[in-house]
Structure formats: structure tokens, C-alpha cells
Symmetry: C2
Subunit: 320 residues, 2 copies
């Protein structure tokens, strides 16, 4: 939600001159992206997004992310397409930071997804998984099951300030997840952060996906589990099985789940909820007072974990 | 530098339906405007700026500001043009706040203005003053000479924490300005905040003015004095008389200054510097720790005041 790097007009003009992107008409910093600085750039050729990668992104990972967006675009999965400069590079440098210029993806993210949106999400998620099967890039998930405990451990002593007993409950949950985490599920490239604000719609049609900066190679069904958490709970945290059924059915129509994937889904959903619980808990207990970005409530994910613990099989999510 | 109000997609769609502005393609909060929330909106008809007026703007003033932009646009002074809804209103309501949809003005503000930019500014400032002569709206300057002392008084006891002797110096300066402030200069509608970030250029041509939310009726020459402060000092705070001469000459070519205006210019420049000194000092000493918006250094304006005190006549600014 911030512009971390102020780009002077002369620097941007020099940067754009490296691309065949037209003449600069305007640029404005946009209040999106917790990790990076983003500008919307208008030129006489159209609209672009300029991203400057800030400290929280490892520059070594950028070729994986940018290459993935190109790969997906080339296979018809709509997402921002990195522009190449005259030397053929998609990654440049601006104001001392790695920077990329991308096509602007029109669309609006839906604050209150309906069943139809969840159905479209399922279809596109499966299409993305299939399109990325032959993507050669490698990046391990830096926020997988073995990474949750160290994040939790850093703030566990203060967890009970949010809710009595929370530390012990999540400690036990982590132990369970670590001991039972499925190992042999089909792997592929996953988005890993496909929340509603990363999925654009035009009218009721899904127009594209953005923000691939958590993408990695991991169990494909884990991506589904993230979406179950992100799309299928109501504001009061009740689980909407109609939305989940629509998403899972649409996904399975394009890419049927294996028996092992279906069986693992409740556990994967617990794990996906834990992943967001631990990072939110950490941010909640570590944000500077008065900081501009208000941290998100970790307890919403504690409640999701408890819900998923009560689920006996993927059928309860609506999967046939 | 912030999005104070998050607009949900459904609310914006309903709001846009009141206008003949096309179908929503995308909208992003932009990190501009200290006072208001701004979104850049793309529709199938083009780009727009959506502004939600936050607490620091008095809703009673909005018809003056919006009417002025329409008036200036109609006379060829390029600025954002408020759209009218189907009932003919330029001011609507969105998320409980007054809101206006405006045409998007392409252009880039120049971080390091050159002499040519200052010349263009002078020409456009005079054109704006002349175009607004028959604007019927009334709004007094809420930050004129009588308003500076109360702002200063609220923080004067801490002014010396910035610089020893600052409180006494500025106290005396205020007394001098109050006693000698010119009363009979030609009046008109002034922008009152025409800093480089409110003036857009395309290539080297001035493409338009934005942010009329300090506009008011006051001495026209005071607007020139604001621009002398905002455009004609180098980053090391040395005064660039070549830039000032270019600006003043271009202005006077379109609208010759009266003898009284020319004579008053050094005093007006001291006052304009004081206006920004007191508000910056106030913000500097009152911003919450850890706040996202970093306050601007008031001492830059103390130094400008001292420079203008040393100026004997408008000729020293380069005015013939």
C-alpha cells in the first residue's frame, strides 16, 4: 500500500527510452502491492505497470517470476506481460532497484466474490496449473510447512495476548501439520497467493491474474487449498460450501484431482490457513506503532484452521 | 500520499452508472494528494481521476473549486474537467464522502524545473489569472497574513528545537508582515499552491494545472510570489534569478504588473514563504511518530524568508 521509491521524471524517461513502449504521457504511484513500488504509466502506446522491486523480494527470484508471466501469457492465461527492452531484457534497473515494465491488465478485483466468481477462479486456476506444467523455472516455496514454525516461534510468547491459549493450540497444530504433511502429491508451479485482490474481472468474466511474487513449485492441490481459504469464507467466517463446490468442480473439470490430492485437501487447507496465520501473527505483533499499513487480523486464520480441523473429507468442501 | 477511503468495486460501479463515462475497466488508488483520496479510473471511454474529499476539505468550498476548473477549462486553461452526472451535478457522494469524477490530464510534473519550464509557468499563470477574472465564485484565502500567527503560535514554544532563535525571528517577521501587508493590489482568483507537482508538462510544453483546492480570491501578485518561492530556488536554496526573470517576464508579457504590484513583490514573497513556513512547522512538530507521510522541512522556508528580506526591489528578481 505504498510508494517506497519516488521515481524522478528524468529517470523514468531514460528508463522508458530503453523500451519500444512509446512516449511518456504520465505516471502515478499506485497504492497497491505491499512488497513493491508500482506506478501506472501512460504512454502514447497505452497503459503499463512499472514495478520497482524493494527489499523484501530476492532479486535472484525475479527471472522466475517474470519468466512465468511470459510463459503463462504465451499459453493464453492472461496476466501482465513483461516488456523486453531493446537488448531483449525484461528486467532493468531504475533508481538503483530492479525494475520491470509490464502491460497493464484491465480488470477489477471483486470485494465480495459470488459463486460465479469462484467458478471462474476454479477454471482459471486449473488452466494456469496446466499451462505452467512445462515451465522450466525452479523456485521452492519459501513459506511451506517447514517455514511456519520459525515465524511462529519468533512471536509465540506474545500470541496469547490476542487470545488465551492460542500459543499452545497453534504449537500443537504445527506439530501435527509437520508430522502429517503430504509428500507425494502432483507438483507444479503454483501462484500461492491467489486472493481476490489478485484476480481481475471485467463484468463477470475473469480477465486475468496478477502478483506472481509468491509463485513457486509445490503441490498443485496446495494452491486449491489457498483459494478455499481466500474465497470461500463469508465475512462472518462461515464457510460457503456452494462457493467451494463451484470452485472445486470447475477446477476438476479441467484438471481432475487424484485420489491422493482429494484425500489431502482438508490437511492442505489447514496448512494454507496456518501459512497466513503465522505471517499475519508476525506482522500483527511486529508492525511499528502508527505505521501506515494496518496489519490484517491473524485470528481470522486461526478460525479457519479450526474449521478445517473439523472437516473429515474433501466431500465436505463440495468435491464430488 | 495516501488512500484514505477504500472504495469497493460495487460502490464505484453504482457511482459511475450516474455518469455518461463508459464502462469500468479498472481503478487504482494513487499515492497523490495529501488532503484527498484519488483513484485513477479506466473505462472504455478513457481515463479519469476520481477524487473523494476527506476531512481537511470543507464541503462548502467544493462548488468553488469545481466551478473554477470548469470555468478555466472553458477558457482554454487546461486542467481536469469535472464530469457532470445525468442530473447535471459535478459533485456526487461515494462511500459517504463528497466525490467528483474528472477528466484525466496527461502530463508529468518536473522534479527539476529548468528556465524554459519557469517561462511556461509565467505565461500560464497570467493566462489563468486573466481567464478567471470573470469567475463569479467567492472564497477568501484561509491561509493569508492574518492566519499565519495562530498556526505559528500553536507550536512557537517548540520552534527553537529546530534552530536556536527561530521563534523570536519569526515572531518579529510576522509582526512586520502584519503591519506592512499590502491592501490595495489587484485582486482575482489565485491558485495559491502552484508548486511544480501541480503543473504538468508533455515534453517541454506545459500541458495543464491541477489541484485547485487552495484556490481563492486574493492579490494576483501573491500567486506570483508563491511561484517565486516554489520554482526559482535551487536544491541548495540559492536563488536562480534567470528562472525568476523568465517567469516574471513571461507573466508580464501577458499581464503587465502594476507599479504597486512590482513594488510589493519582495514583501509578498516574504509572506508567501511565511505561509509555507508556518504550515510546515506545524506539521513538522505535530506529525504522529511513525506516520507514513514524512513532513517537509520548514527550515527551507525560513531560509527563503531571509533571502527575500535581503531583496530591495522586484528588479532583483529579474523584473524589468
Amino acid at each position: 500500500m505504498a510508494v517506497y521509491t519516488e521515481v524522478p521524471d528524468e529517470d523514468l524517461t531514460r528508463f522508458l527510452a530503453e523500451y519500444d513502449a512509446g512516449r511518456l504521457l504520465s505516471f502515478k504511484g499506485i497504492a497497491e502491492g505491499v512488497e513493491n513500488t508500482n506506478y501506472i504509466v501512460h504512454t502514447d502506446r497505452g497503459s503499463f505497470i512499472l514495478t520497482l522491486y524493494e527489499k523484501r523480494v530476492d532479486p535472484k527470484d525475479l527471472p522466475f517470476f517474470l519468466g512465468l508471466m511470459e510463459h503463462l501469457s504465451g499459453k493464453g492465461v492472461t496476466c501482465p506481460l513483461p516488456m523486453h527492452d531493446r537488448q531483449g531484457r525484461s528486467l532493468g534497473t531504475l533508481c538503483g532497484r530492479p525494475a520491470a515494465l509490464m502491460t497493464f491488465l484491465e480488470g477489477v478485483w471483486v470485494r465480495r466474490p459470488a459463486v460465479g466468481h469462484c467458478r471462474s477462479l476454479g477454471t482459471t486456476l486449473a488452466a494456469m496449473h496446466k499451462a505452467a506444467l512445462d515451465y522450466p523455472g525452479e523456485r521452492t516455496n519459501a513459506l511451506s510447512v517447514e517455514d511456519w514454525r520459525p515465524i511462529f516461534a519468533a512471536v509465540a510468547d506474545r500470541a496469547d495476548t490476542l487470545q488465551a491459549g492460542l500459543a499452545a493450540e497453534m504449537e500443537a497444530e504445527l506439530t501435527y501439520l509437520e508430522a502429517n504433511w503430504p509428500q507425494d502429491l502432483p507438483l507444479g508451479v503454483i501462484h500461492a497467493d491467489l486472493f481476490p485482490d489478485n484476480v481481475f474481472f471485467l463484468n463477470s468474466r475473469l480477465s486475468g491474474l496478477i502478483d506472481f511474487y509468491f509463485a513457486c513449485r509445490d503441490a498443485l492441490a496446495y494452491d486449491i487449498a489457498v483459494c478455499l481459504n481466500a474465497w470461500c469464507f463469508e465475512p462472518d467466517l462461515s464457510f460457503n460450501v456452494t462457493k467451494a463446490r463451484a470452485m472445486l468442480t470447475a477446477y476438476a473439470d479441467r484438471r481432475p484431482l487424484t485420489t491422493a490430492e482429494a484425500a489431502a485437501l482438508p490437511l492442505l487447507a489447514r496448512g494454507a490457513a496456518m501459512r497466513f496465520f503465522v505471517t499475519r501473527l508476525y506482522d500483527w505483533l511486529n508492525h511499528p506503532p502508527g505505521a501506515f499499513v494496518r496489519p490484517k487480523d491473524p485470528l481470522e486464520y486461526a478460525r479457519r484452521i479450526r474449521f478445517h480441523r473439523s472437516v473429515g473429507s474433501a466431500g465436505e468442501y463440495g468435491l464430488d
